[in-house]
Symmetry: C3
Subunit: 208 residues, 3 copies
Amino acid sequence: MRYDSAKLLLVVDLIATFVFGLEGALAAVESDLDLFGVLVLAFATALAGGLFRDLLIGAIPPASIRDWRYPTVAFLGGAVVCLWHTTVSHVPQEFIVVLDAAGLSLFAVAGATKALHYKIHPFLAVLMGGITGVGGGTVRDILLARVPTVLRSDIYAVAALAGAAITVAGLRANLPPTLTAILGSVSCFVLRVVAVSRHWNLPRVAHP
Amino acid sequence: MRYDSAKLLLVVDLIATFVFGLEGALAAVESDLDLFGVLVLAFATALAGGLFRDLLIGAIPPASIRDWRYPTVAFLGGAVVCLWHTTVSHVPQEFIVVLDAAGLSLFAVAGATKALHYKIHPFLAVLMGGITGVGGGTVRDILLARVPTVLRSDIYAVAALAGAAITVAGLRANLPPTLTAILGSVSCFVLRVVAVSRHWNLPRVAHP
Amino acid sequence: MRYDSAKLLLVVDLIATFVFGLEGALAAVESDLDLFGVLVLAFATALAGGLFRDLLIGAIPPASIRDWRYPTVAFLGGAVVCLWHTTVSHVPQEFIVVLDAAGLSLFAVAGATKALHYKIHPFLAVLMGGITGVGGGTVRDILLARVPTVLRSDIYAVAALAGAAITVAGLRANLPPTLTAILGSVSCFVLRVVAVSRHWNLPRVAHP
């Protein structure tokens, strides 16, 4: 990985971390957690996906433990919610969906790219991209003692997996890394936003 | 480990992975998850026990991330449920119990054996066999936001621990690996099936 | 780390492990788990914090898997509850709070110290101390399918983080390790006990 693309990956990762930290903190406030709970949910929602991916691919200690900027940015997202909660909670839902879709896209692409760098099989690198994208929200829901929404509703993980798959395919076909990252994240983003606006859902398996 | 016993361990592991993937997917359909949720529960139920064991004993990346056959077989179990759910849900409960007991036995024996190969203390290798056996079901229940059934009911983990203990004892006593694996898994299997058919339960600690 | 301070750290860690194992087992009995569930909750409550810290800082296999004394002591805590539950449940609540505060202090200090030894950034070493202290209780609550109490109530994690921060500051300032450990753990212990007796709580973020 050249220096520039490493730097790009970091910046992109930190932006997504901030967005997810913000969302985790909002969910914590809605569930009536205290100040510490808000910061924990910011941390977990922002970093659990990447943490879990890093443990699984053998990047230990994980980036978010090795580099103080990750937890700092996640806590910053939490702090913004604590300080300006009324303002943040008046942000239109549509804007949150778009921000979240952007975070999801960046995480999915970054996760798949990192897994390939660690010589993980392409099929599993796609899964690692998906885990990076949805892992944080899953841990957030487990901490709030509810079934992870990602298991139940609409096109969320599928968008992450699609973005990760395009990234892996592009990198394996030796497309330029930056172009590949753009292709992967734009696909994920568009699929997610369109799915929400059209109320697309995954089918369920009928049971008696 | 000779080539043959390594190959045997892999085949045995993959069969158990398929069975647990099937069961995880069935639980997901019953809980009204969508198609993605069904596949996630197949994956988690089949692989979380081994994943967790591998992280703990230092086999990183875990086998199920290093080897694409594990997730493929787990998803296959999920796909079977998605495609033929009506058929699968009409399979008699007794048959599911027997299949599950077989999967549990294979996982417990494989988990304990792998832990010993990684120079883990025999006492902890037994625990690792137990975690391999019950870890998947535990994560499945956490994802469904319910208290893991393994903590509450009948002789399940105890059977896994018994099978793992016999395996560890046999290997430490230099019995032939294949004989040891058979002894361990048959003990676990028989104990589990008899316990279900006789409605054996572990005692509870009385509290006011 | 000199031999003596390593030995001190081990003894201190084992005492905290026993206390947390006891508390996990008590929670399991109250939630009507069976004998196996009681032992699992003893194990998880006592060891999950340290396990998670060790995975994150790259101390793999974690101390509690490498050293049979950790799980043994945790199970001992569980066994005491199983054998003498009536007696243990009549221990005054105040005494349990004090014991728990002691365990928390020891874990927070030991966790932060170990993270520094593994060259983790001081800011993250403080977080690792916090995770060591509250991780076990969090996993206990997840297994009981409830929102972790640490996210919701009073000064618990904050005390752990304060103790860890003082420990990290002391070690970085080259204070003698034993003095630093005493300063860190006494601060955590006093803050926790005073907070409980005065009913201090963290503020919540108001939401409509």
